[in-house]
Each structure stands twice: as structure tokens, then as C-alpha cells.
């Protein structure tokens, strides 16, 4: 009984800390990256929420997929995602991550991000405004708080399915195994 209580308290603190300290991986994968600087700098100042850019995947919590992903980038993004430490979150920016967006008929971009990576939140827009991005973060915070931002668990549980999808588009699969 007491142990449970301790665990619960720990969870609450952990969730609270996770929610207020979202470190974003500095990886501009697509054109949505152009609205990241305004979001992070003085005009919108996402740092007010403890959102900061991080240089390496090992240290980051949130992976922003800022729009379309070229197949070549997808391979690197998967690698990057797998290097991140759980719990980790993926944010899909704009139309391109949802259903192909502008590049729906492009031979070189993926259409549905959630086939390849577990996406915790999608933001509407092409591209999302800074307000939209911040709104996405706030929504993500809510999800973390309620314990629903479980994309990383989903990825572990359904790794097989994700791998099948990933290998379907990435023709030359030379990557180390995912270890968590």
C-alpha cells in the first residue's frame, strides 16, 4: 500500500517534470522548420514553457517532424528517434504528416507519418503558425499529464508493424537494431 503511494507520487512528479521540460531535437526535417525559429525566439518565446532546442537525440524528448519527410530523411529520422531516450514524443507538423499534404503525389516523400513512427500529436496547418506550434506543445503537455502520450510504448509493442512499413519504403535497410 505504502509502496504504491510512493510510486504514485513519483509518477506524478515525473509527469509534472516531463511536461514542463520538453527538450526539442533541433532537426528541421521539412519546411515547417521555418516557423520554429520564430517560435523559439523572442516574438513567441517557447522557452517560457521550458521548451528548448537540444543538439543531440540522446538528450531530446520531443522529435518535431516539421512537415514532409523525404524517404532519405525518413531513414535518418528513424535512427534519430531510436536514439532518443524514453519517454519520447513525436509531433507531426502540418498537412504533410497527416495525409501527404502538398506532396501527395511526390515519389520521394512519405504520406502518413504514423505508419512509420508513433505520433503523439498532429498540428494543423501548412505550415503551422507559431501559435499553432505552441498550441501543439500545450496539447502535448496535457497528454503527458493524463498519461496518454504513450507513443514510445506503442512503438516498442508494435515494432514489427512499424518495421514492416519502414522497410517497405526504405529499400536499403542497414541499421543497427533498436535497443531500449
Amino acid at each position: 500500500m505504502k509502496e504504491d503511494w510512493g510510486k504514485e507520487a513519483g509518477n506524478i512528479i515525473a509527469r509534472w517534470a516531463r511536461k514542463h521540460s520538453l527538450w526539442v531535437l533541433a532537426y528541421g526535417t521539412g519546411c515547417g522548420a521555418i516557423e520554429i525559429p520564430p517560435t523559439m525566439t523572442s516574438r513567441y518565446d517557447a522557452e517560457r514553457f521550458g521548451i528548448t532546442g537540444m543538439a543531440t537525440p540522446r538528450q531530446a524528448d520531443v522529435l518535431l517532424i516539421t512537415g514532409y519527410l523525404a524517404v532519405k530523411t525518413l531513414k535518418r529520422v528513424i535512427r534519430t528517434y531510436e536514439q532518443m531516450q524514453s519517454p519520447k514524443y513525436v509531433m507531426g507538423f502540418g498537412s504533410c504528416t497527416i495525409n501527404g499534404g502538398m506532396y501527395w503525389d511526390s515519389y520521394n516523400t512519405i504520406k502518413r507519418l504514423d505508419d512509420y513512427l508513433p505520433v503523439d500529436i498532429f498540428i494543423n496547418g501548412c505550415m503551422p503558425r507559431p501559435e499553432g506550434v505552441i498550441d501543439g506543445f500545450i496539447e502535448l503537455q496535457k497528454l503527458i499529464d493524463s498519461g496518454q502520450a504513450n507513443g514510445w510504448k506503442k512503438y516498442q509493442d508494435n515494432l514489427e508493424w512499424y518495421r514492416t512499413n519502414q522497410k517497405k519504403v526504405i529499400k536499403n535497410w542497414k541499421m543497427p537494431d533498436y535497443n531500449w
Partner: protein
Amino acid sequence: MDTSFNLWILLMPFVGALVGLTYMGIGRRIIARVQHRYGPPIFQNIVDVLKLYSKKTAITHGVMFHLAPTLAITGTISTLMFLPILTGPHGIYLFSFKGDLILLMYIMVFGCLAMALGAGQSGNPNSAIGVSRGLSQMVGYEAPFVIAMVTLMVQFNTTSVHDIIKAQDSFVHWNMFQSPFAFIAALFAFLGFMGNKPFDVVIAPAEIASGPPSEFGGKYLALMQTNRGMFAFVKLVLYVDLFMGGAANFVSLLAKTFFFYLIPLFVGIVNPRFRTEQAITFFWKWPTVIGLLGFLMVIL
């Protein structure tokens, strides 16, 4: 005495880390203000560390990689132990009676070396380059620092920090004013110590990701961040001890350390980063010359 002593031994690292991290938080707010924005909450860095502790961590790069953060934090804690934190009747001395400046100078490097070894094992070329840069730069800023320390030791004819503090019994006797050249030299070294711009060649994000810690994440990074906070506190206290005559109570300690914290912060806000060799040349030029000048004045 004994209970309070033991209590302080247990508490001091936490206090140090908290203070260090809070300073960083305040620093971030100040930076933000200059940058025309609001910035994060003051306790943001503490939240960050808490979060990092809560993260699952699955990185394997070898034994040294595992040990490095622990070794680093051990180094910092031992430094803290040998440092007079508060002076006067209610002073917190811990083991500082037993140690002296030379020991301090030695164990301060210990943590950095541990980090270097750990980072070296991570296999990330960014880390390797970061380590090599760090070591090079250390060679740079250690020069003026050592000169300043030697000046102080010669001046007071002691290697004990405690004695140096005692010698600065009043405001006017602070080493800041008594031996300004040594102070300036040490101050430049301090900029290097703190790794703020323009001397942040080690972590230089735009160049080598985040340098040595590139591969460290989750709990490792948490330890390292704690260490960073604590180490900042250690350095600040050391400088307060050496140049501002220590502090008799917590309020004065905080005020004085914060003053020292602001100096590299302000310099960092408005300056870009040196290249490594530029940083080394810089250290070996002005600060060293000034330090030597002070040393000469002392021995003459």
C-alpha cells in the same frame, strides 16, 4: 557539532546543486530579458534535471561511459568538501581545514578528466573533438589561473584557503582590490572555467553538436547537469573565498556568488564564441601577462 557537521556533509551537495541550478535559471531569465523576451521560469533547470532523472536510459558504450558522470560528480562533491563555504563563527568548513588550494586545484580537474574519459568512450566523433578541445582550452585557462593562485599563495605565504580568507578581514582587504592583477587574470580564467561564451568551444552546439555530452542522455545527463550546477557553485564559492573574503552567512554568500555568476553571464550574452586556438591564444596573451605582472609585483 557532530550532527550538524554530518548533516552539512549530506546537505551541502544538494544545496550546492540547487543553488547552482537556480543561478542558471536566473541566468536564463536575464539572458532572455536582454534578448527581448521573458524566458523560462527560474526553477526551470531544476525541473529539467528532475525530468532527466525520470527518463528511462538505455545507452551502452562501455564501463567508463557508465562511470564518467558518477566520477565527475564525486570529484565535484569532494571539491565541495574541501572548500570553506561559510566563514566566521557559524562557518561551514567540512574538511577544508585538512585541504588546501593545491589539493582543490587538483580535484577540480579530476571531474573534468573523468568526463573526458567517459566521453571518449562514447565513440561519437563530436565527443572526441569536444574532449580534445576541452583539454586544449584547459591548458589555456589553467595558465592564468595557476599564476593567479601562485600569486596569492606567495602573497599570503600559505596554501590554505582558510588562511587566505582570514587575511581578507575587511572590505578593503579583499583580494579583489589588494591584488587586482591576480584577480583579473583569475577572472579571465573564470570565464574559461564557466564555459560561457566566448569560451564555450567545448560544447559549441553549432559546430560539434553538444560536444562531450553528445552521447549522454537520460539519467547520465541528469547526473551531469546536477554536477554542472554543483560545480558552478563550487567555483563561485572558491572565487568568493579567494577574492571577496568568503561569506559569513548565507545571504552574503548568495549575494557574492551571484555577483560572480553575473560576470561570465553578461560577457556570454553579447559575444560570439572563439575558435579553440583563438581562445588559447587569448588566454596565453592578456590574462597571463596580467597575471605575471601581478606575480612580479608580489615578489618584488
